[in-house]
């Protein structure tokens, strides 16, 4: 077990670094970027852009550093200045790590045309220069740097922490409700296979799990907010986690913006949509594995011995039927972060998924990458947890 865990830990770090590399490459090859903005300014004639402007902007986004240095600074926050152990410098403090202003060479071609290419370096960046810069501690240690667009120059981790409670609230409640409702439904419809209840439930579950969440969300707003409001019935407010100004709902009365009632009313729809979607998927899953378990020989033996039917179902079948379900639950973990991006966007719920969409909409790719990175790490942790849980619920399986 220990050996297995160590191997898994190494694997996880490797995959994490790889996915970070992938994310960074995406950022790097993405066309556009801050320099394009400077070029636009120049073209529109707002003001003349000087060499120093470019150098300053490059330094701000670390574009003047060589790629490996940039990546390592981004990933683990190294080097943050001269590399020294005690007082001895491991690397010369004037080691060149980048180029602030590239040298320009004018090439003249025989046909009279000329072209300016960048060659050599007029002003270099050394390790000493890095000491004066603002450095992050590296994303591996949870420092995602600064947000560039959404909140100007505030740490991304602050931004994430301000959105996280909303997503956790939404996902935790809907997951819990879905387990509490979906599992019993699945069990009951397996025990009463081909009954009317089973037909109705499997029918609803099939339609429910094949309905796009987007459609379901919009329809929910349409029916419970728009149409109900137009018809003068009690309606559910939609959009956001809390209202901006007070409003009245028929039969309920005045609702103060930001009050507990207001928050609850706004919470109902997104949570119901997610719950319904999960119930549909999970009840089908539990039904299938329960049917499988009920068909086993030991169930027949138990029945033949005269064990109470309730005990046969709860003790003999259910406990075995829930083994595969445990792995499904580990899959919930990564979805805690950005899994509900669509639902959150439809209901304007200020969670992490919504943040991802906003960040992408405003080209704040560093925020998006932070979210991607966190969800990847959570996927890996989810896999690990599900593997370990598997050995706990099913002692036949050994990790090696």
């Amino acid at each position: 077990m220990t050996v297995y865990l160590i191997r898994r830990a190494i694997q996880m770090v490797l995959v994490t670094v790889l996915s970070a590399l992938l994310g960074y490459t995406l950022l790097y090859i993405a066309p556009g970027g801050p320099l394009l903005f400077l070029q636009q300014m120049q073209n529109e004639g707002q003001r003349r852009v000087t060499e120093d402007d470019i150098a300053r902007l490059k330094a701000r986004y670390e574009l003047d550093l060589y790629l490996p240095i940039r990546f390592s600074r981004w990933l683990i926050g190294f080097p943050r200045g001269p590399v020294q152990l005690g007082d001895t410098h491991l690397l010369a403090p004037d080691t060149v790590v980048g180029c602030a202003i590239p040298g320009q060479v004018r090439l003249r071609y025989p046909d009279g045309s000329s072209e300016i290419i960048e060659e050599g370096c007029n002003r270099v960046v050394t390790l000493n220069d890095l000491a004066e810069r603002r450095s992050s501690r590296g994303i591996l240690f949870g420092d995602f740097g600064l947000s560039q667009q959404i909140t100007r120059d505030r740490p991304i981790s602050d931004l994430l922490m301000s959105r996280l409670p909303y997503t956790l609230q939404l996902m935790a409640v809907s997951t819990l409700l879905a387990i509490l409702i979906g599992v019993p439904i699945g069990i009951y419809s397996a025990v009463r296979q081909y009954s009317r209840f089973d037909y109705v439930i499997t029918g609803i579950a099939f339609v429910g799990s094949s309905m796009p969440t987007l459609f379901m969300g919009v329809m929910a707003i349409l029916v419970f907010s728009v149409l109900a409001k137009n018809a003068g019935l009690p309606y559910l407010p939609s959009g956001g986690a809390q209202g901006i100004r007070d409003y009245t709902i028929p039969l309920i009365g005045m609702v103060d913006a930001g009050s507990f009632l207001d928050r609850t009313l706004r919470f109902i729809m997104p949570v119901s949509v997610l719950t319904f979607f999960n119930i549909a998927g999970w009840s089908r899953f539990v039904r299938t594995s329960m049917l499988e378990a009920l068909r086993q020989d030991y169930v027949r033996t138990a029945r033949a011995k005269g064990v109470l039917e309730r005990l046969v179902i709860l003790k003999h079948s259910l406990r075995n039927a829930l083994i595969p379900f445990v792995t499904l639950l580990a899959g919930v973990l990564p979805s805690l972060v950005a899994g509900a991006a669509i639902t959150e966007s439809v209901f304007n719920w200020p969670g992490m998924g919504r943040l991802l969409v906003d960040a992408l909409g405003r080209s704040d790719y560093t925020v998006a990458m932070a979210i991607l990175f966190i969800s990847t790490v959570l996927v890996l942790i989810g896999y690990l947890i599900s593997d370990i849980l598997y050995t706990i619920v099913d002692p036949r399986i050994r990790l090696s």
Binding site: F206, L222, G339, A341, L360, V379
Partner: protein, 332 residues
């Protein structure tokens, strides 16, 4: 008696009916699944309509007229008296026309993504499963890695980066031309559609590759493969003639469900604004605009929403029917 070794009279031999082929059985079983047949008919109708889009659309696709915005379905334009079957959108463009053109884009994106995914996935799965060893190891590791990255965030990020900078990316004409022709969009709009297809296809192949690898691992150990190899069959021959056809059936179900997945992904990405951009209609971006006007015009989200829902449901029913029809253990 030496001459009558085959003593079966000719009449009996002819009377034996020709046994039903494998696919005839599947078709017969599939046709019993009434919902799946109905779904197939529905999808065929929508698909046909989308193919005939340039001919059946009553208005030009981007015909903007600000004096007839938000007309309700089945109402006539007050100025010209022409009927708008499904009403008009926020810019006065005919909804029916745009839904039909959007069907073309949405369905064709789904179809091309799934085809690419199926090709990449089954080739990689075949190679990994059949040859084993370090090839299998390498491909499996790549599959694990791609499967680890959460789908929705990476899809959104990739398509946002690609589509927001579509002007800066130059695709070769041999991609743009066919894409524009298939999607019935002008060449300049084809780049973003092609990019979206590439993004969706580059991440979607893992499921099919896994399925294929698993099937091939089973099939590889069969005796007929051994005998074909003993007869001197080349690898290509073995793979094409024996392994692939026998590993194929589950792939059909995966393909159908993959179509649904691609359709829903494209709709979601376009809805959030990172997919196909406005003048090019897709059900996703139409839904995006419709939801922002739904408080005053509640009928609007239904127009692109119902086709999305119906197609999604239809793909699932067909997949279900195919799964039942292809499962020899199941008696229907």
């Amino acid at each position: 008696m030496a001459t009558t070794t085959s003593a079966i009279p000719e009449s009996i031999e002819r009377a034996q009916p020709r046994s039903e082929g494998q696919w005839a059985v599947v078709v017969r079983r599939f046709r019993r699944h009434r919902l799946a047949m109905f779904s197939l008919a529905l999808l065929a109708t929508i698909f046909l309509a989308s193919l005939l889009a340039p001919w059946i659309a009553p208005f030009p696709r981007d015909d903007i007229a600000l004096n007839r915005t938000f007309l309700t379905p089945m109402s006539a334009d007050p100025a010209t008296g022409r009927l708008h079957l499904l009403g008009t959108d926020h810019l006065g463009r005919d909804f029916f026309t745009r839904v039909v053109y959007a069907a073309r884009v949405s369905l064709m994106v789904a179809l091309s993504v799934t085809t690419m995914v199926a090709i990449i996935g089954s080739v990689l799965g075949l190679i990994a499963g059949f040859f084993g060893g370090w090839v299998d190891n390498l491909i499996s590791r790549i599959m694990e890695f791609v499967a680890t990255i959460p789908d929705l965030p990476i899809l959104l990020i990739l398509s946002a980066i690609m589509v927001q900078n579509a002007d800066l990316i130059v695709l070769p004409d041999w991609i743009i031309g066919p894409v524009a022709w298939i999607m019935a969009v002008p060449n300049r709009e084809a780049t973003q559609v092609a990019l979206l297809i590439l993004v969706l296809a580059s991440l979607g192949w893992v499921g099919i590759a896994r399925l294929m690898r698993g099937m091939v691992l089973q099939v590889r150990e069969m005796q007929y493969i051994e005998s074909a190899r003993a007869l001197g069959g080349s690898y290509t021959w073995l793979l094409a003639r024996h392994v692939f056809p026998n590993a194929f059936p589950p792939l059909i179900v995966a393909f159908t469900l993959g179509l649904n997945g691609a359709l829903v992904s494209e709709v979601a990405i376009s809805f959030l604004g990172f997919g196909v951009q406005d003048p090019t209609p897709t059900w996703g971006n139409m839904m995006g605009f419709a939801t922002s006007y739904m408080f005053n015009h509640p009928w609007m989200p239904l127009i692109p929403g119902l086709p999305i829902f119906l197609c999604s449901l239809a793909f699932n029913f067909i997949g279900d029917g195919l799964r039942d029809a292809l499962d020899p253990r199941l008696k229907i």
